[in-house]
Amino acid sequence: MAQIFHRSTNLIARVSILGAVFIIAAVTWALAALNRSPYVTQVGVAREQPVPFSHKHHVKQLGIDCRYCHTSVEESRFAGIPPTETCMTCHSQIHATSPMLEPVRESWRTNRPIPWTRVYDLPDFVYFDHSIHVKQGVACVTCHGPVDEMPLVWKASTLHMEWCLECHRQPELYVRPREYVFRTDWAPREDQRELGRRLVREYGIDRPEKLTDCSVCHR
């Protein structure tokens, strides 16, 4: 019986085997890239909210402290989303009839919460505590980005484990003096590495091996 395939088809076979390697590599790379893309991580994507609350306006223009609304940031793992009551302390007087604020007033009238969209959502097997980070000199903006520039809040970091570890491995690159934790306009006056080392010592921040123990975040 004659051969079905000509001898030259061997080349095609060889090329396709070689190609398969490239294709698999390319697909893997593409998936990895996708995993880190804003499509999946939502980094930099401003999220729609029931009320278009502007941090830019409230923080930068009005100069309200973070803790005015996020009251439990210093005592609890959860920074706290303000109750409608907090909004109404001002907005029963200011912009009291603005249609934009109708959901707030409705919430106040009906005693039903405002369903805010979560921007930062850690997986359920990760246990993060705001209070200790704030205490140890990790500023709000270090993780949450320039909140004072965000009309609608977007995620400033991936929340991937590699991102967390970046700081847990070398906290001296990120910590700042405690008194500036809630400031959005702070920049180190000296070398950050020098300052960081001093603060790490002063604040008793654990050495990186301890900070990267699994059970620090997973339990």
Binding site: G80, P83, T84, K210, R219
Partner: protein, 1009 residues
């Protein structure tokens, strides 16, 4: 380790022979282990016993692998987190800080008496129950029932709506119907109206019932609880002419004699009693300060397991022992015939001598299961020994109406039979299931025109009632209750009722014409009245009193002062003459409340069903418990169904052979065989109430046992996770300990510290460790349930337990010791992850899912685990648990509310194990850092440690040499198990000591019982 047996079956005779051949001390967990039963060996050798693997051919295998690989690739890269929402408060409540739990003081009543609790609440959601250290009956500890009560709160099978003749109805309709009835009673003065409750100590509830009885003078109040205190009350009446509460002060006692008194596990004060008992038996206790406990009992109990001398005797013989002792201690009692009971009079004499030598420091305790006469003799003995006022005190009764429950129920049943009952209100009780068989209660109930049942479940009684009213859980309702010493706790709810439920107070208020009056108002109004009448005080105004009472969980100044009573010997003597001590013939049946589901009320609680019973280690079942000798005589083996016949009543029950059981007795546990308990608790085990009669609630001579040659699958965990020998439990008598304090160390063969291939760890900060004092562990299981509640541990079901897949992170290994199958010593050893410094599990994990922390923890990272199970295979302590199926219930909404938000809810395919409650360590660390200080000793309390009634578990920082745990580690009795493997465990034990009476020991050595 016992050599492996052949496939052939083994007999008791062969077993005894085999035991006799063993050298040294012999510890064994089951007869099967002792015999080297093939089934046992198979179970032991298969690390994860699995059912037969499914047949998969090569082609299917490749297809499945390809598909799962592709899916794995896609899902890991292309999943986006779903968008979630945050719902803040509209008006934030005071005190609630989102993310931080709050603790509220309340109490749980059990058998009518309150045990104080502190309940953890996460944003209005109670998740975990702890004891209230300020409460006299809790002292900060809890038992299994209190720990598991949180699951009952969220049980989806709880009754949720009013039922009328089985159909869904409304409260409004019931209030309407009740209003009509009230008009009728006003005319008849309540004739024929009956209220049936359980034991009542609640001052408010008692006040309400009395108001009802004042309003309708012809009405009657009955009380019935299957596990009541009838004999205790009748015994006190016989001895003193009236009922007074007996309170033991065990910390004062040096020699204790228990006549079937299971005082460590039974009774409203058992947590306190356990704590006081252990005070003189801890590893640190000076040998000269130790107490000694003798126990006579028919069936092994937790108290019996702690005894220095435990004598299994039939229940009816205990009266004779009490008589013989009384005679020897100078009371005028005719000499009972000890010989016919097979009891050596020299033994009683030795005992009497020991008691006599400790006048004022001895104590005779009598169990509820013994008849009133024995209780009276106990009182007389304590008086004769000069113990009153020292090791035992008496107070006025705490119960609102301390009546005889059985008599009360009998009267009700007879009145129903005679047609004298027109309307029956059952508040909380379940008599259709729990009433003794001879009363035909369920049958007679049908003669009552109007039957109303208030209960947490639409149970057997609800089925027979016209109206069923769903009752609130104690965490949903306002109430009050009293501790055994009289201390009042005002019980506050932690959560609004999850369903359309009402409390007993609210229903009784409706009987008084105040339908829909909130429980808060009822309880508060009662106490306001008491405050204004000057009954309670200490505060300038009522509001302060109320707030303090709620905050503290106790109302100060409400404990009862001791009263002075003296034994009226004439009455006892008359009773003694009336009932000559008899030498019974035939097999005795003994009834006991089940150690985990009690009288059946906890039947639908999966945690308690799956909890191995402390001594049999059975789960999900009850059994007819018999001694090895009786089993041999009957020719039965574990799991064989026998017919127990008593007169014309019979039940079919599977046999369980328990060493230490009195030979001529068979023990059955109440609480099983329910048919309307819920989806968890129905149709499990057999109903022992069908053999129980009102005349003999705890034991009776004359039960026939017939073989049926059928089998029932009983599942016991006694052979699971067996570590095989090697001096796991180390024990000595006090005498041996004095001679050689280092005995526990010498039994181990620790390799030299530098002989290791592992890198040394450096612990410069904290270094966590645990010590468990085996002298203090009473085997009560509270730690197991506490761990389950704290760490979101799922229930797996009987079938999975059978193949060794129970998920408990801490287990209590129960060992028998000795060559006598009928009278072994019993030891408990809690085993949890040892957090080895050189952990064998860590080096074999291919994904690094289990690694060592810099504080010595052996960490388990669930999201890294791919389920190879190598770690478990390599763990010599067998403390790792693999989630084979999706055991956690991810679907039932109410159950989700129970979960601890600080601990991951694990999925299938993941290994898990004890974490040393790392969530609590982290919480303490964060708090300490926020205050710029180190974690203090005692600040990190693990869940098991917190629940433990005897403080047997101590946890802390080993680097802090001042810490309690570090000091205990330095104790000469401290030892690690399997340390010859060079694992360097962080969990260690303090060796168990016993304090036998040399005189009695010598008698036992002779072979006389």
């Amino acid at each position: 380790m016992v050599e492996k047996g052949s496939e052939a079956s083994w007999g008791m005779a062969a077993l005894r022979e085999r035991l006799a051949k063993q050298r040294g001390r012999v510890f064994w967990r089951s007869l099967e282990e002792l015999a080297g039963d093939p089934a046992f060996v198979r179970f032991l050798e298969g690390e994860f016993p699995t059912p037969a693997p499914a047949e998969v051919d090569r082609r299917t295998f490749l297809k499945l692998m390809g598909a799962s690989l592709a899916l794995a690739g896609l899902s890991s890269a292309c999943t986006r987190q779903p968008t979630e929402q945050i719902f803040p408060y509209t008006r934030a409540p005071e005190e609630v800080v989102p993310g931080r739990p709050l603790f509220y003081a309340t109490a749980m009543t059990f058998g009518g008496f309150a045990a104080g609790l502190l309940v953890e609440s996460h944003m209005g959601r109670p998740t975990k129950i702890e004891g209230n250290p300020q409460h006299p009956a809790s002292l900060g500890a809890t038992d299994v029932f209190a720990q598991a009560a949180i699951l009952t709160l969220y049980d989806p099978d709880r009754s949720q709506v009013v039922l009328y003749r089985g159909g869904i109805h409304t409260w409004a309709a019931f209030w309407g119907a009740l209003a009509i009835e009230r008009e009728r009673w006003q005319a008849t003065r309540g004739a024929g109206m009956r209220i049936l409750t359980e034991t009542v100590t609640s001052p408010t509830l008692a006040d309400q019932v009395r108001q009802v009885l004042t309003l309708f003078p012809e009405a009657r109040w009955h009380q019935y609880e299957p596990v009541s205190r009838d004999h205790q009350k009748a015994g006190a009446r016989l001895a003193f002419g009236r009922f007074v509460e007996t309170h033991y002060r065990l910390q004062e006692a040096r020699v204790m004699l228990s006549l079937e008194a299971d005082f460590l596990a039974w009774g409203p004060n058992h947590l306190r009693q356990a704590r006081e008992f252990i005070l003189r038996r801890r590893a640190e206790t000076e040998p000269t300060e130790w107490n000694r406990l003798y126990v006579f009992e028919s069936t092994p109990s937790l108290t019996g397991a702690m005894a220095d001398h435990r004598f299994p005797v039939r229940a009816s013989a205990i009266e004779s022992i009490a008589r013989a002792l009384a005679r020897r201690l100078g009371l005028e009692v005719p000499e009972p015939d000890l010989a016919s009971l097979g009891i050596d009079p020299r033994l009683v004499e030795a005992l009497a001598r020991d008691l006599d030598q400790h006048r004022g420091e001895s104590l005779v305790l009598v169990g509820e299961t013994q008849p009133p006469l024995v209780h009276a003799l106990g009182h007389a003995l304590n008086q004769a020994l000069g113990n009153v006022g020292r090791t035992v005190i008496y107070t006025e009764p705490v119960e609102a109406e301390p009546i005889q429950h059985m008599a009360s129920l009998r009267e009700l049943a007879e009145d129903m039979e005679a047609g004298r009952v027109d309307a029956l209100f059952i508040v909380g009780a379940n008599p259709a299931y729990t009433a003794p068989a001879d009363l035909d209660f369920a049958e007679r109930m049908n003669r009552v025109r109007l039957r109303v049942h208030l209960g947490q479940y639409a149970d057997e009684t609800a089925q027979l009632c016209h109206w069923h009213l769903p009752e609130s859980h104690f965490l949903e309702a306002w109430s009050d209750g009293r501790a055994p010493d009289g201390t009042v706790t005002i019980m506050q709810p932690l959560i609004a009722p999850l369903h359309e439920t009402r409390s007993a107070h609210e229903v009784l208020a409706a009987l008084l014409g105040e339908a829909e009056r909130p429980g808060y108002e009822i309880v508060r109004a009662y106490w306001q009245q008491q405050f204004e009448a000057g009954q309670v005080g200490g505060f300038s105004d009522f509001q302060t009193f109320w707030r303090m009472a709620l905050h503290e969980g106790v109302v100060s100044g409400t404990s009862l002062p001791p009263v002075s009573v003296s034994v009226q010997w004439a009455a006892i003597a008359a009773e003694l003459a009336k009932r000559p001590a008899r030498a019974p013939e035939g097999i005795e049946i003994v009834f006991r409340p089940d150690p985990t589901v009690w009288d059946g009320r906890f039947a639908n609680n999966g945690w308690l069903q799956e909890l191995p019973k402390p001594l049999t280690k059975l789960t999900w079942d009850n059994a007819a418990i018999i001694a090895p000798t009786l089993a041999e005589r009957l020719g039965v083996k574990n799991g064989e169904v026998v017919e127990l016949r008593r007169g014309d009543r019979q039940v079919l029950a599977p046999v369980w052979i328990l060493p230490g059981q009195a030979v001529e007795t068979v023990t059955v546990h109440l609480g099983y065989g329910r048919w309307r308990a819920g989806r968890v608790g129905s149709h499990l085990g057999f109903n022992a109430y069908r053999l129980r009669t009102s005349g003999a609630p705890w034991f009776e001579v004359g039960v026939e046992i017939r073989r049926t040659h059928r089998r029932h699958e009983l599942v016991s965990t006694q052979d699971h996770h067996s570590m095989e020998g090697r001096h796991l439990v180390r024990t000595a008598t006090l005498g041996e300990y004095r001679e050689n304090p280092r005995f526990a160390k010498e039994l181990g063969q620790d390799p030299p510290p530098d002989l290791t291939l592992y890198p040394e760890h450096r612990y410069d900060g904290y270094s966590w460790g645990m010590v468990i004092d085996l002298n203090a562990c009473i085997g009560c299981n509270a730690c197991v349930i506490a761990c389950q509640a704290e760490n979101n541990i799922p229930v797996v079901g009987k079938r999975e337990v059978k193949i060794g897949r129970e998920m408990h992170w801490i287990r209590i290994d129960r060992y028998f010791e000795g060559r006598d199958l009928e009278r072994p010593d019993i030891y408990h050893q809690p085993v949890l992850c040892m957090h080895c410094d050189h952990a064998p599990c860590e080096v074999v994990c291919p994904t690094g899912a289990t690694v060592h922390s810099h504080e010595g923890l052996n960490q388990m990272t669930y999201n890294r685990c791919v389920g190879t199970r190598y770690c478990s295979n390599n763990c010599p302590y067998k403390v790792r648990r693999f989630n084979f199926r999706l055991y956690a219930d991810w679907a039932t909404e109410t159950l989700k509310m129970q979960r601890n938000p600080d601990v991951t809810v694990r999925s299938r395919g993941v290994m898990e194990k004890c974490t040393y409650c790392v969530q609590r360590i982290n919480a303490a660390r964060i708090e300490a850092k926020k205050r710029d200080r180190a974690i203090r000793d005692g600040e990190v309390v693990t869940a098991c440690q917190q629940a433990c009634p005897t403080e047997a578990i101590v946890f802390g920082n080993l680097n802090d040499l001042e810490s309690r745990v570090a000091q205990l580690k330095a104790h000469v009795l401290n030892y690690g198990i399997l340390t010859e493997l060079n694992t360097r465990p962080r969990t260690t034990y303090l060796a168990r000591l016993r304090n036998p009476n040399p005189e009695v020991a010598a008698l036992l050595e002779e072979g006389t019982p």
